[in-house]
Assembly symmetry: C2
Homo-oligomer: 452 residues x 2
């Protein structure tokens, strides 16, 4: 039996995004203004985001229509395929039924364009001339650069220094799309200058890069800010993934017992998980939902659910999320997209409500899983996705030990074609695991702002 | 109007490969034994290839059934999408209707797995334990490494030195699949040793790497040789591309006036072109068919149609093809997959019969075209594919100048995610064009073997 593909016809691209907030038993905590500690107003956010996105950020509507022009562009790579990983099942000799949704078919090789196109669209509608953003591994930066090229917007990207050095091909791709890319921390912003003054060799972090991009947007009226994860509207845009999966699993005549996604900011995980979580909440499903994060950046499993800044320089509003503290700088793991101190407030809230589970995976286990997956399925996963794959292999092994056939559904959020240096380093024994002693985590958390 | 995708359902993957030989007005010249200069027999080829492939190499049947197991594996990425490049048309302000078949959706990002899977299958059937091969840019090596992983075969790859240095990520990918990769020329073979003795800094060439892989296969009874292009059976396996396109263009309600593909060994070009050429020959179509090669390696446009060796060390049989001479070492252009001294005998024969046209493109024009394409369509083409894209842009410009709307169909044979260094070098002004003076071409051709 070979790997099976489940494809949907183009007209099955969802007509609307799914907003989990509408179905939550308790509403998420409000976003607070850092000065007043009062809930932010739309006007507070207008220097950073267009009103179309601000409205989505605060919406409690269950379904939000996808604009026709956005949907037309998504059709280039959507609906993305769902695969039954028969060859992997055989290689593992497991009774588990393993399904993977593959988002690597987009032009940049990941799920990120799903929201980049929508964000560029709303900004274009409202007269934005330039978008500023951060990027870790570069998946997001490439996606926004591409979307900006489609809509005729300029694009300025602050790329986390360690990834800028590790992944020059991602930078080259952003520049091919016409974007301007700077390593972060950079001397171009006050936020970057402050970090460089403390540590000229700083590897950077998503928190620092966000500060730089937010600062540029705040200071330039023709520039707005764009974020590749974390925020409600970003997670919303990714729900096309899970909505398609529900139809595709029906095609396969199956339903997931366990759903797995990797989490950095939370968007690919939420994109798959939230539509399924909505079904659970509506009593239509009983899928276990597991978020997998790197042990080197364990916001969900070891962080605190508390108000914190989204960035290091404290330019953003305060959001309640699982966090390691906004000054936490994760080690230089290759899964650059997962090197974020916080976690999407909605994902954090769902964990706090006990609606989902969280676990962490070490870097070496992640890459070993990636190699196993590649040899069986052909697709070489991105380092981020390898964390999810490692959890899938563990679950498949449990199925084997228990002699139980469970259906496992995972979001393979991107391919690793830009990340092969990581595989080379793994094969050469140059990668390592990371485990924080409790006192280091406690120290990082001690810096959390006091709220209320 | 946004870019439009034309998808076929899975059951539309062709059931059989199309063999152009059945429809040619004159048969191609026979392959000759280098010692006797008599046509080779199947037994002559058996040390290198399994009988299943040898039979295809010599077949005159029009349709050759695709084995079920091969077809099942191809389903993972086939049928590949055909796109109408609306955004590119708009960017060019051309009345041309531009369609691209996109082979970058395979796990390795190019068309090469179409034949790799078939070759691994027949070898597995006939007891081969290990396959040896060459690779230029690494698209082929990755594809065969993946196919070998699927079938449990060992894989040994000789990678042209210049690409080994330029494209380390391709090497990493082959190794992730479990293949053993050596830069060529290598000290592991007599052929490699001889080249290194003459020129320790040799950049290598596909001709040299072929010699090494053939030598390893000839000397080891458990090892056979696998070639990623040039041979009839390889071109045959790629005809799934054109066969799908015929159905997809029907879906689009259109038919190509001009068909364009880039040519190195000829397989992606033939894969798209031969089914259309068959229709032309049957009086069912009048598509102009254009092969595009790099000006730096102009076998079709400046080489001679003559018997020559497929490799530099003269270990292969003699084939009649357009060639620059088997000792020709092309300059270090980034389109490593096009750095071959010869051209597929069937493509050469079709050109000799006046059934197709050939043109050449300079490296800088190719990359400029690639950037234009990427900004409009999102997909960053491989350097090889950029040559075809440049010809598309030129044709679209002619349409604009003439005020005529022609349908242009191009094979976008792979993405450039592994080749971003080339884009960086292009943006930095580090790439150059190459033009050979006539006397250099004449000198290279003077070394052709005398046959008959």
């Amino acid at each position: 039996m070979e790997t099976v593909k489940y494809l949907l016809p183009e007209e099955k691209i969802p007509q609307a995004w799914y907003n989990l907030v509408a179905d939550l038993p308790h509403p998420p905590a409000p976003v607070l203004h850092p000065g007043t500690q009062q809930p932010v107003t739309p006007d507070d956010l207008l220097p950073l985001f267009p009103m179309g996105l601000i409205a989505q950020e605060a919406s409690t509507e269950r379904w939000i229509e996808i604009p026709g022009e956005v949907r037309e562009i998504l059709k280039q790579w959507r609906p993305s395929p769902l695969f039954r990983a028969r060859r992997l099942e055989r290689a593992l000799d497991t009774p588990a039924r393993i399904y993977y949704k593959y988002e690597g078919v987009s032009p940049v090789g990941s799920h990120k364009p799903n929201t980049a196109v929508a964000q560029a669209y709303y900004n274009k509608q409202e007269g934005t001339r330039r978008l500023a953003t951060e990027t870790g591994a570069g998946q997001w930066g490439c996606s926004l650069a591409m979307a900006c090229a489609f809509f005729g917007l300029e694009c300025k990207v602050y790329m986390v220094r360690v990834s800028y050095d590790q992944k020059p091909y991602r930078r080259a791709m952003m520049e091919a799309y016409g974007a301007s890319v700077s390593p972060s921390p950079s001397p171009e912003t006050e936020a970057g200058q402050a970090i460089l003054a403390q540590d000229p060799g700083s590897p950077g972090s998503l928190g620092i890069a966000i500060s730089e991009a937010v600062e540029v947007a705040a200071k330039n009226p023709d520039t707005r800010y764009s974020l590749g994860s974390v925020l409600n509207h970003v997670l919303l845009h990714q729900t096309v993934i899970g909505l398609e999966c529900i139809e595709q699993m029906d095609l396969a005549g199956d339903a997931p017992d366990v759903l797995i996604g990797c989490t950095g900011g939370g968007s690919n995980f939420a994109g798959l998980a939230f539509p399924y979580l909505g079904r659970n909440l509506a009593g239509k499903g009983r899928t276990r939902i597991v978020a997998v994060e790197p042990a080197a950046c364990p916001s969900l499993t070891r962080g605190r659910f508390a108000y914190d800044f989204g960035d290091t320089a404290h330019l953003t509003p305060l959001v309640k999320m699982h966090t390691l503290g906004s000054t936490f700088v994760p080690p230089r793991i290759h899964a650059g997209g997962l090197r974020y101190h916080g976690m999407a407030p909605l994902v954090s809230h769902a964990l706090d409500l006990g609606l989902i589970e969280a676990t962490s995976v070490q870097q070496l286990d992640a890459f070993q899983a990636g190699v196993t997956f590649a040899r069986a399925e052909g697709i070489v996963p991105a380092p981020e996705a390898n964390h999810a794959v490692a959890a899938v292999l563990a679950e498949a092994l449990r199925c084997k030990q228990e002699g139980v056939s469970r259906a496992i559904l995972v979001n393979l959020c991107g391919h690793g074609h830009f990340d092969m240096q990581a595989y080379t380093d793994f094969a050469a024994g140059k990668l390592q695991n990371f485990e924080y002693p409790d006192h280091e985590i406690a120290l990082a958390l001690a810096g959390l702002p006091s709220v209320g």
